[in-house]
Every structure is written in structure tokens, then in C-alpha cells.
Assembly symmetry: C2
DNA sequence: AATATGGATTTCACTAGGTGGAACGCTATG
DNA sequence: CATAGCGTTCCACCTAGTGAAATCCATATT
């Protein structure tokens, strides 16, 4: 058997973690890959130098770079969505007292968080989530997006997503059809219990509900309300704020369409 | 300065060569990257094991695998094009005595060779080119395709292509606008002198002329005539066969449209 | 202001892991 | 049958990668 190259293996696993999770800190990469930090630092430095990754100047976290052969993403449409959503999500935060996340599809059935109103002092949840790509199966945003798609497109994406799925996500992927039926029935998606429930990353375990933005067959994103699980139940937040969340989604959708037209 | 990781660098350069050139043999990779073959073999074995590459069982050449975050390709439309072109390119070979290549766009401004009539004994040029992605700037097929696009789409693609361009291709990329004007003026595209002119890969230095298939704004591919440079000049082949080449392109375009309708 | 915390980064001695020239086996060509 | 070029294997060499520990640095806490 031909020998393999360990460094290349490690480089690929880092690329895979970043490409499926979006922006990643060194510590997060260490946790996910099980590699020592200096090793990751050197490999990431190489990837950055080759522009497969870029590194944020302020917090030195990594995300995919210009040379990464990405699935056709539409940076323009992401910009439009952020612009369309800016004031609406602030208003929703004011009205509810909760954090609001805005996510855009990135073309492969997944979404990426593109804006947020979270602040640590107000919502007890760390705000540095922009660029993060939550699980398509287990997160509120991811499920809201998938549930709103036309059946054919949903089938195509979920088949493609299943290929790259491992570990806990695998189980969630198998349970997806049931979950999406539930989402459609109740009119909003929820974050799976325990999903990414590392208190250290949030300051506390979060709960969230999310709905899609757009009309069936042309979904342009998703918005969510997010709060500390210990403070409110999903049911109570849904009862109190779901209508506002839906109104916000519709407003953003309209504004988005208007901006493009 | 943080140290870099040489193996990772090498792995990336291999991925880049394969992703832009399509199917690649070990020897081709060795030539392009300047690395010794055993090193490439080990790195490719790693990439194959991680499914970033697949290796053809018959001739052990490499191409992108299921884990490679690929640009959306359209296998269906490629199939249609091959079907639509099959008899037409055979007829063109019969009529001209030259080799004919058929290429389809892969969605990022580049084309991939999807069928050929080349046989070594008849045309003195090796036929194992299917799956290969010729340079968008320097090959006849690539330029014919770009020159036929609408200005906006051409601008978008060439901007995107320029990002990933290095070495000799970089110079060619800068000269592209002039080259495309020339292509439009004379009605066909030519292979750049010396482009991949390694006699060893062809049995001899080839020349080629190419035209696009389709109507402006909806280009579905390109066809080329290819021959040994020492046997005919570009001018003489164009004078003798350009009309047949154009007729073939039109015929394939019509058939393609009919098959889809 | 001082202290504590938890990241990112640097250092450095060690040696596992990668290297590549040379040799091999195979297949197609002449 | 000889040749050429390919992918692949071998293996002695030693560099290039490693990772525990130390250091730096920014932010939160007292």
C-alpha cells in the first residue's frame, strides 16, 4: 500500500471543518480536529498564504478565502439581504428584547449567519457569530430554510448534504424528513436540544426559533430569535413573538425583492 | 513569522492543477508542479483516500472527487451535448481529415473536453483528452467560448478567472481583451503558439482553430479542429475548412436545443 | 490599577515522517 | 524483439514538521 501524507490529511480536515462551519477560531479548530494548536497555526498560515483561507485582522479567526473552490456563492445577494434586514432586525430586537440572527443561503442547502443583533451584555450570548454556518439539520435557521424549499430542491440538497455528514449530524440527517414536517406544521423551526450546547461558547445554553424569508420556491434567507434557554421556554416565546418574527421575515423579503428590482 | 507547512503547500498546488485542468496523469502533475513523482503519488493517495480526488481504475489518472467543494457542474447538459455532437463531429473529421474536439462549459468560464475524434494513428495526436480543461486564455476552445459570451458574462467570468491565474496564464489573462477582439474579428479562435507545446504529450506540436456552439448569450459549448502544426498552417486550414466547422457548430447547437425541447 | 483568564503565538530540542533517486514491472508502440 | 514512458515500490537519509511549555496580548473581573 502506498504511504500517505499526514500533513496533507491534517490540512484537509481543517479545510473541511472551516468549510462546513464557516468562520472558525484556532481553539475551535483544535477542539474539532484534536490537533495541537501550534500545528494548526502552521497549517492555517500555509492555507492563508495560499489564499485558501483568509484570516480576520481583528480576531484572527479563519474563513474560506478567494482560492477556495467554493460552491457558487452570491456575495451580491448576501449584501442585499444584509441591507434589507438591517433595520428590521433591530426593530425586532427592540420589540422582543431577544437576540435576532439573519442568515443567507450559500447555495448548497446550508445557510450562513450574515448579521445579528446579539450583544453579550443584553442577551447573555456572544455576538461573534457572523460567518458561522449552523447545522442544516439541527439548528433553527438551517431547518427553517430547508423546510421552506420546494420538495424537489429540498430533496436535492438533503441528498447532497447527507454525503458529507458524520457523527451526531448523521442521526439528525436521517430524522430530517420528520423534523421538516413538524416545522411546516407548527410554522417555525427550533434548535435541536443540546445542539452545540457548549455553554463556554455562548455564556449559556441558547434556545431559538426561526422562519424562512421569501416565498415558496424562492427562499432568500432565514431569521431567528435567540435567547438563553434558562430564561424562557420555546412555547412562551413562540406564543408571544412568532407573529412579529413572521412579520419581520415578510418585511425583509419585500425589501430584498424591491432592492433587486 | 510563523513557519509554513511544505506538505500542505504541495497538496494545495496539486489540487489547483487538477481543479483547473481537469483530469490529470501523474506525469502531468509532476511536470506542472515540479515535484518528484513519488511525492505526488503519496500526496494524491492521501487526497484520494479523503475523497478530494478520485482515481480512474483503468488509467489511474486523477480528477476531483466527491468531497471536493466543486463548482456546480451540469452533467445532464453535458450528456445532451455529447449526444447532439456525436455524429456531427465524426462527419467533420471525415470531411476534413483532421481531429475534432467537442467541449462543454463547466460554469466558471472554463470548458471541459467532452468528446473527440482524435486517434493517434490518423491524426498523430494522443486522444486521451476527455475530461481535460484547456486554458481559458491560451487554448482555441477556451477562447472561442469566452469570445462568444455576452459582454457582461464575459466580464464576470474573466474577473473570476483572473483571481486564480498564475505564471504564464497570468500574462495571457491580461492580453485577453485584445485576443477576444481578434477572435471575434476573424471568426474563429486559435491555440496560442507554444501553449502546452510539449511534443511528448501529443506526439507532436498541435495547432487548432475553434468556434463556439449556440447563439449569443446562450453558448452551450465549442468545437475545434486540431492537427499537427508541422503539416498545415492555421491560415490554410481556416480557408479550407472554417465554413464546415461553423456548419457543424450550428448543427450541434440546433440538435442540442431540439433534444432539450 | 491590579489581577485573572483564555485565547493566539513563539520557542526549541527531538525524531517521526516525509523525501526523492534509483530500480522495478507493466503496457503500448515501432 | 527492443524501446519508451508510464505508475509504482524501495529504502537510506535527514530535513521538515512536531508539540509541550513558555510567552505574549487583549479582554474581563476584582
Amino acid at each position: 500500500m502506498t504511504k500517505l501524507n499526514r500533513s496533507v490529511e491534517r490540512g484537509l480536515s481543517i479545510l473541511e471543518v472551516i468549510s462546513s462551519n464557516g468562520v472558525c477560531s484556532l481553539a475551535f479548530l483544535a477542539e474539532r480536529t484534536g490537533l495541537p494548536k501550534p500545528t494548526i497555526l502552521r497549517i492555517c498560515a500555509t492555507l492563508v498564504q495560499q489564499r485558501w483561507l483568509t484570516q480576520s485582522r481583528s480576531d484572527s479567526r479563519y474563513r474560506v478565502g478567494s482560492r477556495f473552490p467554493r460552491v457558487n456563492s452570491h456575495p451580491d445577494s448576501i449584501d442585499s439581504l444584509v441591507e434589507a434586514g438591517a433595520s428590521a432586525i433591530l426593530a425586532l430586537t427592540d420589540a422582543t428584547g431577544l437576540g435576532v440572527d439573519l442568515a443567507a443561503p450559500i447555495g448548497n442547502g446550508r445557510v450562513e449567519i450574515v448579521d445579528t443583533t446579539r450583544t453579550f451584555s443584553e442577551h447573555g450570548i456572544f455576538p461573534d457569530c457572523i460567518g458561522y454556518r449552523p447545522s442544516p439539520f439541527r439548528s433553527a435557521l438551517g431547518c427553517a430554510f430547508l423546510a421552506a424549499l420546494e420538495p424537489e430542491q429540498e430533496a436535492e440538497y438533503s441528498a447532497r448534504l447527507a454525503v458529507h455528514t458524520t457523527g451526531k449530524d448523521r442521526a439528525a440527517a436521517l430524522a430530517l424528513p420528520a423534523k421538516l414536517r413538524e416545522v411546516r406544521a407548527q410554522g417555525f423551526a427550533t434548535r435541536e436540544d443540546g445542539y452545540w450546547g457548549r455553554a463556554v461558547d455562548y455564556g449559556g445554553i441558547p434556545s431559538a426559533i426561526a422562519v424562512a424569508i421569501g416565498s415558496p420556491g424562492h427562499i432568500v434567507g432565514a431569521v431567528s430569535l435567540i435567547w438563553l434557554a434558562e430564561q424562557h421556554s420555546v412555547a412562551s416565546v413562540a406564543k408571544a413573538h412568532l407573529d412579529k418574527l413572521n412579520a419581520t421575515a415578510q418585511e425583509i423579503g419585500k425589501l430584498y425583492a424591491a432592492n433587486l428590482g
